[in-house]
């Protein structure tokens, strides 16, 4: 079910039941956006849709979104991005202990999953990847690190991610990648965009 509420006079917050519906709705809206739409911000349960109030109104926009058919998972397509990883993260042993697995098995499970970029946030180019093996799901660390190096491949909750730049962070570090996740001299600057499919490849 879709619930649509105003977020000020220039945006609507569309709430759906789960992340899969967010991805399906985002795919459908991008393919055929209602008139006046400016930008989409997909998130865990919602898509914020910003619009130009000179072109459309909240009511017209909401009606257009309500008519949109949420694309089923098999219709959702996106580019495939392969991220090379060296599994040498500081938390690999702790994650293996918590999951009751060997480190090799953690690595095998992390890289054998098919991920999808659900949304970006936290920092430019930080993509939240869904598809993580349920056995590897752990809450964020009790005490976040003050500095996580750029390129760190990490997991927390139902997500995996690669830190685009050095920042504080509370995710569990499994390894690192040399692929630049964010480069403002590149177009697009982010290696990952919502909807993209991702595979981690050990190297």
């Amino acid at each position: 079910m879709m619930r649509i509420r105003p977020a000020g006079e220039t945006a609507a917050l569309v709430e759906v039941d789960d992340l899969a519906q967010v991805t399906g709705l985002h795919t459908a809206l991008r393919a055929d956006p209602p008139a006046g739409v400016a930008e989409f911000v997909p998130a865990a349960r919602t898509i914020l849709v910003t619009y130009d109030p000179a072109v459309t109104s909240f009511d017209r926009l909401a009606a257009g979104i309500e008519r949109t058919r949420i694309a089923p998972a098999d219709e959702v397509s996106g580019s495939l991005v392969e991220i090379p990883v060296r599994y040498d993260g500081a938390d690999l042993a702790a994650v293996a202990d918590a999951a009751g697995l060997s480190q090799e098995e953690v690595v095998r499970r992390h890289q054998s999953a098919d991920y999808r970029v659900a949304f970006c946030g936290f920092a430019p180019g930080f993509g939240y990847l869904t598809g993580l093996d349920p056995v590897l799901r752990l809450p964020r660390k009790e005490t976040p690190r003050t500095r996580v190096p750029a390129g760190s491949v990490a997991i927390a909750g139902e997500f995996s991610a690669v830190y685009p730049t050095a920042s504080p962070g509370g995710w569990h570090l499994l390894g690192h990648s040399e692929l630049a996740m964010w480069d403002t001299d590149r177009d697009p600057p982010a290696a990952l965009a919502p909807g993209d499919r991702v595979r981690f490849v050990e190297r």
Partner: protein, 283 residues
């Protein structure tokens, strides 16, 4: 070209920001008080989107290395050019070698300086704005920085003075309820109380102290997209009003959103000042 002598407490280069990258986690940024930057640019015959300087709480001084036409808008400051006072909201001709010094604003928080042609610093994702949250754009302005002028003109400066109302002593900002007003017992505390602006305010947000909004839902909100003007309410019930450099997503519920037309006013709130909110409807 100008050379910065003293940047004051915080001066940044700002234009109208970098729209189009929200889905990648990059906020729009740009001038906190966009109306004032637009006006400054119009006064010198620039495109409204040209880059100028945003001086927070005055204190900025610079030397002009070539003749220029400038305008000052936003928070009114005593300004002295080559030893003589100059006015706000007017185009000013500056001879080469002159020094401009801004004092402390008598009201408001942010003063804008536009130079005819705009400031020519490299663009990042289509904008010259400093985003203090994401770190994109030029670093904050420092003593010794030199800024060349660009060519962002659209016509001659042909207005002598733009009449601008004084900033209200206690602004009343219009808000639209939601999107998460149902997380709170009532918006009454927000709409009937006065809030004091905390000194922890910056380009990311204005922290407010006043009647707490009481939450009726427990649990966490999964992070969701937020717009400029959002009044995000953490568990202590004290709202934070998001300005230009706010995060693209946030994890606390937004009780109400300040109307676009009042965001420039919100960007001029100074610590210790009080502010009130009035409900309006979006549609």
């Amino acid at each position: 070209m100008i050379r910065i002598v003293r940047p004051g407490p915080l001066t940044t280069v700002q234009d109208l920001g970098r729209p189009g990258y929200l889905a990648l986690g990059v906020g729009t940024s740009g001038a906190a008080d966009r109306q004032s930057l637009r006006l400054a640019n119009r006064l010198v015959g620039n495109a409204e989107s040209a880059a100028g300087l945003e001086a927070t709480f005055g204190g900025l001084s610079m030397v002009f290395l070539e003749p220029a036409t400038i305008a000052l808008t936003g928070a009114p400051v005593p300004a002295v050019l080559g030893g003589r006072p100059v006015s706000m909201n007017s185009p000013i001709s500056v001879p080469s070698g002159a020094k401009l010094e801004l004092g402390r604003p008598s009201e408001g928080m942010r003063t804008y300086l536009a130079v005819r042609g705009g400031l020519d610093v490299p663009e990042v994702l289509g904008s010259r704005s400093t985003d203090v949250l994401s770190g994109l754009g030029p670093p904050k302005v420092a003593a010794g920085d030199v800024f060349p002028f660009g060519s962002a003109t659209v016509g001659p400066p042909n207005v002598d003075l733009a009449p601008v109302p004084r900033l209200p002593i206690e602004p009343v900002l219009r808000v639209v309820a939601g999107p998460r007003d149902d997380w709170f017992a009532s918006l009454r505390p927000l709409l009937t109380g006065r809030y004091e602006v905390s000194p922890d305010s910056n380009r990311v947000g204005v922290r407010l102290r006043g009647s707490a909004l009481e939450r009726v839902r427990s649990g966490e909100l999964p992070s969701e997209g937020m717009v400029t003007g959002s009044l995000q309410v953490p568990p202590d019930g004290q709202p934070v009003l998001f300005l230009a450099d706010h995060p693209v997503t946030g994890g606390y519920p937004v009780a109400a959103v300040v109307c676009s037309a009042d965001i420039s006013l919100a960007a001029q709130l100074r610590p210790g000042q009080s502010v009130r909110f009035r409900l309006t409807t979006a549609h």
